[in-house]
Amino acid sequence: MMNFSYTRAETVAEAIAAVAGDPAARFIAGGTNLVDLMKYDVMKPERLVDITRLPLREIEATDAGGLRIGALVPNSDLAYDARVQRDYPLLASAILAGASAQLRNAATTGGNLLQRTRCYYFYDVATPCNKREPGSGCAAKTGVNRVNAILGTSEACIATHPSDMCVALAALEATVHVEGPNGPRVLPFAEFHRLPGDAPQHDNTLAHGEMVVAVELPAPRFGRNHTYLKLRDRLSYAFALVSVAAALEMDGEGIAEARIALGGVAHKPWRVPDGEAVLKGKPATPDSFGAAADVILAGAKGYGGNDFKIELARRAIVRALAQAAAGEPQVQSDKTVN
């Protein structure tokens, strides 16, 4: 690990000023991803600003009937919060599908949004990677790309965003509260992460020095009609090959509204409103689900090793929608997929 200097911030303003004024500085909170990346020299900050002492650890009710989750709330505390378990079980389920208990204890809400891709070539500093070293090329496109993206890719990058939690937050239409050198702003979740385009070094739309201070959930909806279905190479403690967060507002036997977000397939949680609209007013049948999947996966492209993801994603969408419609969410400890 490269040497770096260390500053412990006492206030949000102080932390922002410290990072904004130094291009080589970074915030650190749980550190579960950043410390790992620093050991591999994938990230080489010269200064770390420790934000763990900032007062961003509360989960508070909002006037709109939702929850405001402080950026430093650990993933495990969020997943097991009684209000989240009761009102946002899709979010709780997605969080518990990710990482391990130890990592969830250390990792924070804001950090989960900011974690970086696990593309093998991003981690391997001996290979080209446009995300790690802009302009160096993409080794994944012609390499071992089983884990890589099938949607929203570019010539420059086929990395995926690794989070499970963010897939649920996308489906739930959370908002992200940010503070920075130019003041606060609030972003819809869909506008937080970005597609790689010709600048894959940018995972999201934050400017240097901007900090996530909270994630806000709108008032709860969807009752029991939700699921987080995660498919991976082993039963636990692995990143998603494909995951689906599905939530349905039912109207008798029919679907009034659908939310569908995919993980493991793109540079950001993948949501296609036109695909969700296909289900409006339709019966909850495999044919309806398949029609939605076709729209959501339109334009999907494999790179050899990940070709299987296109059909896997289609089947996962259909299965997840069936689980959501039946009110039988995927259980994250019993891995039998019903």
Binding site: M1, M2, N3, F4, S5, Y6, R8, I28, G31, T32, V35, D36, M38, K39, L48, D50, T52, S76, Y80, A99, S100, A101, Q102, L103, N105, A106, L235, S236, Y237, Q332, S333, D334
Partner: protein, 172 residues
Amino acid sequence: MEIDRLTAAGPTAVSIALKVNGVERRLEVPPSVTLLDLLRERLDLTGSKKGCDQGQCGACTVLVNGRRVNACLQLAVMNDGAEITTIEGVGQPGALHPLQEAFIAHDAFQCGYCTPGQICSAIGMMNEGHAKTEAEIRELMSGNLCRCGAYGNIVDAIEDVMGRSAFKEAAE
């Protein structure tokens, strides 16, 4: 004289206070030193193991303020003021923790390399209180790999301790 490798290797050291296995420590630590390296190389607490050093195996699991974390992904300086419990603080020969006894009774290891992390993780899991079934124990212990494949016996040992009323009362 003992050579302090960590201080020698670091840039500007930061002064921190830790309570490790009940003992107050004041330490000068370079920012890049992980909690795991501090425990092993400086405090000679070599029970916590460096398996993968990337948070993928769980062999370095320790309790920080009662919560299980991967010590390899913690910067020591960020834990200033924390209480750390390693396997050495969990129990010692002659005064073993019930889980240590249960791991022996159930033959829950072969090489033993992952065992300190398994036991610290299981204590953390019991503190958390979310595992009620075997499937939940397996899921919530999935951050601890065992290359010998002793998983069946590890789960048996944990279930055994969780099932003992005396332990339940002590935990409450």
